[in-house]
Symmetry: C2
Amino acid sequence: MEKQKIYNFSAGPAVLPEVVLKEAAEAVVNYDNHSMSILEMSHRSAPIVDMITETRQLIHQFLNVPDNYRILFLQGGASLQFSMIPMNILTDDVTADYTDTGAWSAKAIKEARIYGKVNVVCSSKETVYNHIPKDFEQSSDQVYLHITTNNTIYGTQWFEFPDANGFLVSDMSSDIFSRPIDVSKFGIIYAGAQKNMGPAGVTIVILREDLIGKSGRDLPAMLDFAIHSEKDSMFNTPPVFAIYVVNRTLHWLNHLGGIEEIFEQNKAKAKLLYGEIERNPIFKSPVAKEDRSLMNVPFIFANGGDEKDFLNYCAKRGLVTLKGHRSVGGFRASIYNAMPKEGVKNLVDAIQNYSQS
Amino acid sequence: MEKQKIYNFSAGPAVLPEVVLKEAAEAVVNYDNHSMSILEMSHRSAPIVDMITETRQLIHQFLNVPDNYRILFLQGGASLQFSMIPMNILTDDVTADYTDTGAWSAKAIKEARIYGKVNVVCSSKETVYNHIPKDFEQSSDQVYLHITTNNTIYGTQWFEFPDANGFLVSDMSSDIFSRPIDVSKFGIIYAGAQKNMGPAGVTIVILREDLIGKSGRDLPAMLDFAIHSEKDSMFNTPPVFAIYVVNRTLHWLNHLGGIEEIFEQNKAKAKLLYGEIERNPIFKSPVAKEDRSLMNVPFIFANGGDEKDFLNYCAKRGLVTLKGHRSVGGFRASIYNAMPKEGVKNLVDAIQNYSQS
């Protein structure tokens, strides 16, 4: 009997392309015929420097990053950026505006408050973050406006970016490389790798050069964008293996047809799943229709039901890690770039059949 | 023809045991028969939580860590600890004493100065860090005394730890798990993984519980030992794969006979190599005899010579990454735990034969 194919709907760390996993495994034993594991190779050796440079170029190309931006590979996840960004950018004479659209936004706000004036310009907290606020007033002395482009837990996504008084700063951890974006609207984009591009352990930061080195603070070297930028992310040993997996994922994406193509695929997958959730009387979406994320799809029983039973039913079909986050309940299907359409189809079938049983 | 075996003498990222690389590669495709890659699995899933817990237990067991210490898995390398430690520990009313025994010590000193009173109690800088200073006076209001137990670049190692007025804080990045140590002499031990235990991307911090949460500073969550301790290193997504490689390396070490056994092997390898360098009239060690590191062995031409020629000569024999650090020149053989005795023997042979040619 053929082994059942497993589809992993985890919100992150999340599914990666099969070919990328094979290439990564090979590199752990013998990197690119160098008779050494990538784990053993110096980050300053030519093959690794070349690989990191190429990864930067791929990001540059895919997101059409303007030339006055730097691309950094850092550690500490989005969580460290929550403090690094205000530490480097937020001076005494200005205000940072934050939109509160979920748990991660709220964490970013908390960290920023340590470093300066923070104005929470809008929040959907009272309705369990079930929508993206559209009308809000920004501070007149705003340095930047922070948004979390996709809210993993609540399943909302910004489809239209607001015009910032200053510039946009954005946590794109869970939707980077899933759709085209206009980088020039953003002063800083940051993203942990473990959703749409690689394993936990590397954070990509794309930042406009003119924002570097103006904090007026005596920053530790590891928290200073100026140092990381000057040293091309080699101030200390970068997480080489995690960067390599990002590299291979971007090659996979390139082979597939790039950002425009994956965006079409992501829309198609989401349409399929939301369509069934809408149609099916047993389930419903807790999220405002116009803000429903293409990446994370929470759904709940329309009139109550046995959640464990549905999860078991799915697990038997190889559809796993579908449990919803405790703050929303029910179920959540994360359908990042690397989730094949087949996986979404199987989930839709399961929802259909479950409703019929 | 059989492919030539490559021995990698890199100072870090460095050689790892072959069996560990095979296990790591397998886990990248299918972790422990879960039909998922370890890169795709949630850090909060039972198999990953169990693996991280076991890794902590192995460290506990190997280093005989007393029960009033916590073991954390963080990101950012030793470089981030250079600032995190004073940020968390160094209050206004006390002094941190630092020993200056090399480039990494100097970086730690620079970062600590941002946060409080720092007293550099000794330095071997004037003699290009060729020895470990033995006689120095400590501050009477000392909170801790910082030492770098092994100096990767200069090839010196502390064999006898000083008695601190307060407690010892130590960067053990390049000799952790290479020899038995008495953890109770240290308030904090920290180590980046990429020398003796795994790939770049995870930092182990062992710290005494009573030192947690007393900074009096409003710290960002990611830089607060109290938060990481309370959340068992799961405040944000930890670098799971890097921790897994550490786990397998510790299993390998266990199978080998543990710390006492590897210490004997490390002494034997070092004796072999230093013996030849002493004997051989063409080469010499730049380091004071009593402080010569068991991990990193710099050696230089006694009376000049063509460095490139010797490096090529070695490379042809599969002995690679032997170039010395620019601040010492010559050559450097890093012979960490995972460097087989065979590799050291081959290098000794190369040195012998080269001298005869």
